[in-house]
């Protein structure tokens, strides 16, 4: 099912309510399902159900999914080092958007960002919406190696690389926290509708937190929110 393409909390709630409802209703035939910014996709077992049947069920039950209930989520405070070499592309962003680096950074830190979904790589958080002054098209040529924890801007999207990987997004900072931990279940701390607020740290704080993360002794600060 597809909704209009927009970064919208209300629409995401509708999509997640739809997902919750149909995941339960079709539990027997669904292999798995995922939500993205504006879609809910069902992967189902063709030996158990036909496309037409699924489509009829989606049409007849669509309005039954409850979307008005408040959901409990978390607002996480995520440390980020914005200076070089943890960031590379602030000068480009400032130049292209005709803003000062310092004011662009203040704007970035002043906002909190909603988790829309996780994709691309295990634990890659897709965040938004991003203020217009921070939009920056993806790089024409991707970099071969983006560091684990790198925070990137790809057009109007904001994301965090959970592992070292090639990537075409503009890197504006890096967080020492663990985005994906297969020893935990679920392996990712955040879920759709959670929010992330970044706070700036310097290189020495980055090293300290990295060490705590390595020892398994670091805990993210969070507060409960209702969305």
């Amino acid at each position: 099912m597809i909704w209009p393409k927009k970064f919208c909390q209300k629409q995401l709630k509708t999509i997640l309510a739809t997902k919750l409802f149909f995941d339960q209703l079709l539990n027997e035939v669904i292999l798995y399902s995922i939500n993205l910014y504006n879609s809910y996709t069902i992967f189902y077992d063709l030996n158990k159900i036909q496309y037409d049947t699924i489509q009829q069920m989606l049409e007849s039950y669509f309005l039954k999914a409850k979307t008005d209930k408040k959901l409990q989520r978390n607002l996480y405070r995520v440390p980020i080092c914005l200076s070089a070499p943890f960031s590379m592309d602030w000068p480009t962003l400032a130049h292209q958007n005709a803003v000062e680096v310092s004011s662009a950074q203040s704007l970035f830190l002043a906002n909190s960002y909603q988790v829309f979904f996780i994709g691309f790589l295990p634990g890659f958080l897709y965040l938004g919406p991003l203020p217009k002054a921070l939009h920056l098209p993806r790089r024409a040529t991707p970099r071969n190696q983006i560091a684990r924890g790198a925070v990137g801007i790809g057009g109007d999207q904001l994301g965090i690389y959970p592992q070292a990987s090639p990537g075409g997004w503009n890197i504006i900072g890096q967080t020492p926290i663990l985005l994906f931990d297969p020893r935990e279940n679920p392996p990712v701390f955040a879920q759709p509708l959670d929010r992330i607020r970044f706070y700036a740290i310097d290189a020495s704080e980055y090293a300290e937190i990295s060490e705590l993360v390595r020892m398994g002794a670091y805990e993210l600060e969070k507060e409960v929110i209702h969305v």
Binding site: K5, L31, Y32, S33, I34, N35, L36, Y37, N38, S39, T41, F43, F117, I118, G119, F120, L121, P122, G123, F124, Y126, Q157, P162, Q163, F180, P182, N185, P186, P187, V188
Partner: protein, 280 residues
């Protein structure tokens, strides 16, 4: 509990099962045996359930030493298996005994072969699966010197044999496909179906790519779900057939979709093989 020591690892040898269902929402790929058909036959021969983990061998086989008596079966691309230097048949249950050494010869065609052991390979279950995939599992491939455990041995009353897979499973050039969600956007569909594509050497468990490109003017799409078998078309005209270790979302138009049987056949293509896509 039976043990197997990896004397040499081969080119790209992994442990795989049906895959890691239910973690796509965390960005975790499905993984699992690329050629599920071969893997399932191998499991059946040693009396395993289809959920048992098998060893996926790519082009160049490993060398393995068994510490206990156990039943094994090898199914998939022909790879001249030998037990203590003596050739043994494929697609047949074989009893191996303590200190036996299994090695492999060359693979004249196809790309992947599967070794099943009675009880299955008992590597750690992480997020619901034994399939190797870094960073979910600590390693991508088997390493020399590593020791693998197998599940409890079941004693089979009779020797089992299955028919060899048809030659077409490995050498079929026509890959049957269905239209993908963005197929209608594709005005250059004739090129997709009339051209021959050569498997490029960068092809992997994540994706198959080809030397040839096609001309088109399709825009990128909003980030959308992709699955094993999804064929994406990049702005530079490259077709990408996503395989089982592929990412779960993508922003390129999804022009075609391979059904399961076609994914199995694609998994048997090696760099240099030529294929055509045929609309089902």
């Amino acid at each position: 509990m039976s043990e197997i020591t990896v004397l040499s690892a081969g080119l790209y040898t992994t442990i795989q099962d049906l895959g890691r269902l239910g973690y796509a929402a965390y960005g975790v790929p499905l993984s699992g045996s690329l050629d599920q058909r071969s893997a399932q036959l191998a499991n059946a021969l040693v009396g395993n359930a289809n959920t048992a983990a098998v060893m996926e061998i790519t082009l160049l086989g490993p060398k393995l030493k068994f510490a206990h008596n156990i039943e094994i079966a090898i199914v998939g691309a022909p790879i001249q298996p030998q037990l203590n230097g003596t050739t043994i048949p494929m697609s047949k249950m074989i009893k191996v005994t303590e200190r036996d050494i299994l090695s492999f010869g060359s693979m004249p065609y196809g790309c992947r072969s599967y070794l099943a052991v009675s009880g299955g390979f008992d590597v750690s279950v992480i997020l619901g699966s034994r399939s190797f995939y870094k960073p979910v599992t600590p390693f991508n491939v088997l390493r020399k010197g590593q020791t693998l455990s197998c599940g409890t041995q079941t004693s089979l009353s009779e020797e089992k044999v299955v028919d060899d897979l048809p030659h077409s499973h490995f050498n079929n050039r026509e890959i049957l496909v269905k239209a993908g969600p963005e197929f209608e956007m594709l005005s250059a569909s004739a090129q997709v179906f009339q051209s021959e594509f050569t498997v490029a050497s960068q092809s992997s468990r994540m994706a198959y790519v080809f030397k040839e490109t096609i001309q088109h003017n399709l825009p990128s799409i909003a980030t959308s779900p992709v699955a094993p078998g999804t064929v994406q078309l990049t702005p530079s005209g490259q077709l990408i057939v996503l395989m089982r270790d592929a990412q779960v979302t993508g922003g390129y138009p999804r022009v075609l979709q391979l059904p399961e049987e076609s994914i199995d056949q694609m998994a048997q293509k090696r760099p240099g093989d030529k294929i055509r896509f045929q609309l089902q």
